[in-house]
Symmetry: C2
Subunit: 555 residues, 2 copies
């Protein structure tokens, strides 16, 4: 096959500029921020922009109330009860998403007009039929750019995909959410190739962290993470093959839930690479959200729809309604790996959580010395990501002549430089993987564990292009265990200091001022296929750590 | 790595002879058949040997009653109620298995002494504790040779594996069955490499079909098929990657159930090839039995034991207790493929079943022209079986100098001669496979099908070494859909004649006399992961075709 023609550099830059301009034009003039509010924001500024939506004066009191005070679960209740209309909710979130976009560059496709029209239909349906379209009736939902929505593009940040026409079909999960009553108001930014933790590409540019724009918003579902933290959305659909749901959740300070593979179908999604990978690490779809019960709401809604009838990538496993688990629970605890020692705030936050859970009566079993080497597991995982002899993502880049974004080389493993995949080694990799899975299964069984608590990363959000390899999130993909990020506490120099170790080789370097006030988080890993159990365990943790109601939800 | 030393031919022959002699010595003298009963049996004789157990006079009236009149479900009831002891049941089946072995050469490892000792323990436990060890309390179960049982070998018919010491651990499924109260009385024969449909190897020789020794007993779990048909066992554990549970079931006239992959764990089984295959077609474990409810009993027992706690190859999906499905049902019907036209008895039996099910009120939707090409699907499947660049099974053969058994070349696809696997093509194979899966999913959804009825093979059991490629059973492995064989009717020249097509290229050739009275069968394919639903559907089919009670079970 002949190589696709390479564009001149000027060409790709103008194509990208034109796409961004067309996006900007979709923000109504009256929703545009004055430069006085935004000119100080850059990838080197460190003041939170979380107050700009309110400061902008663009949102009414009611719109601030709608966007700040509820989670998805509460909003669907209010809409269903006629206390709010889908239209007013949708306008509020579109407006706030527009503000978020102007602050942290989190959007790819803007679908405000379509969303408001759809919301109006939802309201009319409710009025006429006297019932909801479905469990998500009238709720605005945002989507990672890799999901397809009829009429919008899905370039996933490749310049070469800018020539693709708008999608003519929805991804199956989009269809399912639509039938459940959802309103789609925007798609969100992601990294070039989706295989790095900075949501930066040559089409849409870089998403900044709203807590501190000098820090990464994480990736690959980083646009979602920043948008939800800005409350330009309360619920977004994300994907995860090495941490892409969870990294943005921990960087921004929201909830992220990575289900077991096969629970949610990948039908009709746009892949950054070649289809048909013989990998042992399939990507999964899951929510970024502001509460655990919102993760439950969306997973339950999708799986209740019998998605296996419309999508052969789904396992036919009904969603089980569970009540609260028998407590106290038994948690394994993993406190880090010598090659990626925990930054003081992360060590302190993990320690505080474990202590608090122990005080609540739960058991904590230290696993540090019993688990397989996480760094070796990461190398194995990365080999699975490099299995394509045709290096298709490289071709997608070369097709336009666009350069690599700076983040890409930062998450490569030096040990794998020059590594070429082979069918023969793939057999050995699978045997090696099975050994890792066996060991974790044994640890869960021998210690009668309900879940494992561990960091989602060795640091809080870090400066752009310094995230490196995600050894604390890729292990769950290698195992195919469900896992979630819960936001918890934040970096506070004074409290963190006792956890500083002078001899630790922190990577990236630890300078307390850089990270001050960055959101903290816990990662909680469940048992394979028991996504329902993990949701219930997370609710117990939310309750016992006092972080429930983060969505300031109606009860 | 240096090649293993090759044995001289005389060496491997004497090794095999010594193993067979040691086996024969484990049959008590008083259970040996006079040559007057067995000398006429050979791979060219065509008289049924099913009457030999009774004719031999070795079994008491009670032992004939025990071995002939009940299925596993009924036997466990009788043992639990104290109406039979496990010891008398076990002795009866050991005796009958010994007779079966002398007639059709179906056993590999003989564990009669261990079984009787274990049965005695079961009886004592029941007496002392006043309760069963578990749902399979006291029940003799046979196992394909690839399962490991502590103290017995698992050579799987490779001469080079004869030097392996006896197993020091049980396969996980064996452990589970043991804890549920099972008694293991023997292991059963299989083909060299397990990848052909004649259970023939250089260690144990060839298993014959008890209905007609000139016909194949099928494979790869053919020893089980012949043993169960002889009623030397009522329940056996088998494996299936291309039809290995189902082919022996249809050849011998028993029930075989292939579950969805991952429902039953493969931990501790002996593989005929290399571990770690990146195949899209994982092998599965399932029962060969005499009734559908016995398949349900054993699957439910295993899955109820939370096998995922002890075996990481199991999906954590609890067994769901279902009641009878809402009838009438909707069945798809596949009547064959032009390259493997159905032999007249199979065409007639399928037609009769479809007619009878229609008369019982069910709907039948003809799918012949709508499904993907089964021959192409078989080629794709066979590529998955040839993915090992090291050709490990060849090494296992070469290590001893033993020759290939004649059946091996008969099930190779000429189109794949010289085909070498590559990582690059594997990606394309996976895309091709996903297209096949999508098409079947669409057919089930569009036609609201509960199940699909089709042949398990184009013929009944066929003469030895003529089975060829199993295009009607490998498709369910490629799809990962559960499927079962139900015995139904038999070849009858007079009735079959109207279904003869003079222009059909029957393969293997059709000569009515060759197949007269060979067992007939139906294959019924369910929906992915819905093994429980398929069990219930099979019970409806059993009822409506009048074949229930085949195990002459107590109700």
């Amino acid at each position: 096959m002949a190589a696709a023609p390479t564009l001149a550099i000027a060409d790709w830059k103008s194509l990208a500029a034109s796409k961004r301009e067309s996006n900007y034009n979709k923000i109504p003039t009256e929703w545009r921020l004055p430069s006085s509010l935004t000119s100080h924001i850059s990838s080197t500024s460190n003041s939170s922009v979380l107050d700009i939506p309110e400061k902008s004066g663009l949102l009414t009191r009611q719109e601030l109330e709608i966007t700040e005070n509820y989670d998805a679960w509460a909003l669907t209740q209010l809409i269903a009860a006629g206390k709010l209309t889908s239209k007013e909710v949708t306008i509020a979130f579109c407006k706030r998403a527009a503000i978020a976009q102007q602050c942290v560059n989190c959007l790819t496709e803007i679908m405000f007009d379509e969303a408001i029209a759809r919301a109006t239909q939802c309201d009319e349906y409710l009025k006429k039929e006297g019932k909801k379209m479905g469990p998500l009736h009238g709720l605005p939902i945002s989507l990672k750019d890799s999901f397809q929505v009829k009429g919008s593009q899905a370039t996933i940040g490749y310049i070469s995909f800018l020539s693709h026409p708008p999608s003519t079909t929805n991804s199956t999960v989009v269809d399912i959410l639509f039938r459940a009553g959802a309103v789609f108001h925007c798609k969100t930014n992601l990294p070039q190739t989706m295989m790095t933790a900075d949501s930066d590409n040559n089409v849409f540019g870089r998403t900044l962290n709203p807590n501190n724009p000098s820090l990464t918003a994480g990736g690959s579902t980083g646009g979602e993470g920043a948008l939800i933290k800005m409350r330009g959305s309360v619920l977004g659909m994300a994907t995860d093959v090495a941490g892409s749901i969870r990294i943005p959740a921990l960087c921004n300070g929201i909830v992220g839930f990575k289900p077991s593979a096969g629970r949610i179908g990948f039908g009709g999604s746009i892949a950054p690479g070649r289809l048909g990978s013989p990998t042992a690490i399939p990507p999964v779809i899951g929510p970024e959200a502001t509460s655990v019960r919102d993760c439950e709401l969306v997973l339950q809604t999708i799986i209740d729809s019998t998605p296996w009838d419309v999508d052969e990538t789904v396992l036919n496993i009904p969603w089980r309604r569970l009540s609260s688990p028998k407590t106290p629970l038994r948690f394994g605890l993993i406190r880090g790996h010598p090659q990626r020692p925990l930054h003081p705030p992360v060590a302190r936050i993990l320690h505080t959580a474990a202590t608090q859970l122990k005080e609540a009566g739960h058991s904590i079993v230290l696993l540090d010395d019993q688990i397989p080497d996480l760094y070796t597991c990461t190398m194995l995982s990365f080999k699975y990501f490099l299995l394509d002899p045709q290096k298709t993502p490289v071709k997608h880049i070369q097709a336009s002549g666009e350069p690599w974004v700076p983040s890409i080389p930062t998450c490569a493993l030096k040990e794998l430089e020059g590594w070429q995949p082979s069918l023969d080694e793939l057999w050995d990799m699978n045997v090696q993987r099975m050994g890792v899975v066996r060991r974790f299964r044994e640890l869960y069984t021998e210690n009668r564990l309900d879940a494992v608590i561990m960091p989602g990363y060795q640091a809080t959000a870090v400066p752009h292009d310094t995230f490196g390899v995600p050894i604390y999130t890729v292990i769950q993909n290698l195992l195919n265990y469900p896992a979630a990020i819960l936001p918890y506490l934040k970096a506070e120099k004074a409290l963190d200091e006792p956890f500083f170790k002078a001899d630790a080789a922190y990577e990236p370097p630890y300078n307390p001022a850089t990270f001050e006030n960055a959101p903290g988080a816990l990662q909680i890993m469940g048992k394979p296929m028991l996504d329902e159990e993990l949701i219930q365990i997370l609710k117990v943790v939310e309750r016992d750590l006092g972080t429930a109601g983060r969505g300031r939800a109606l009860e």
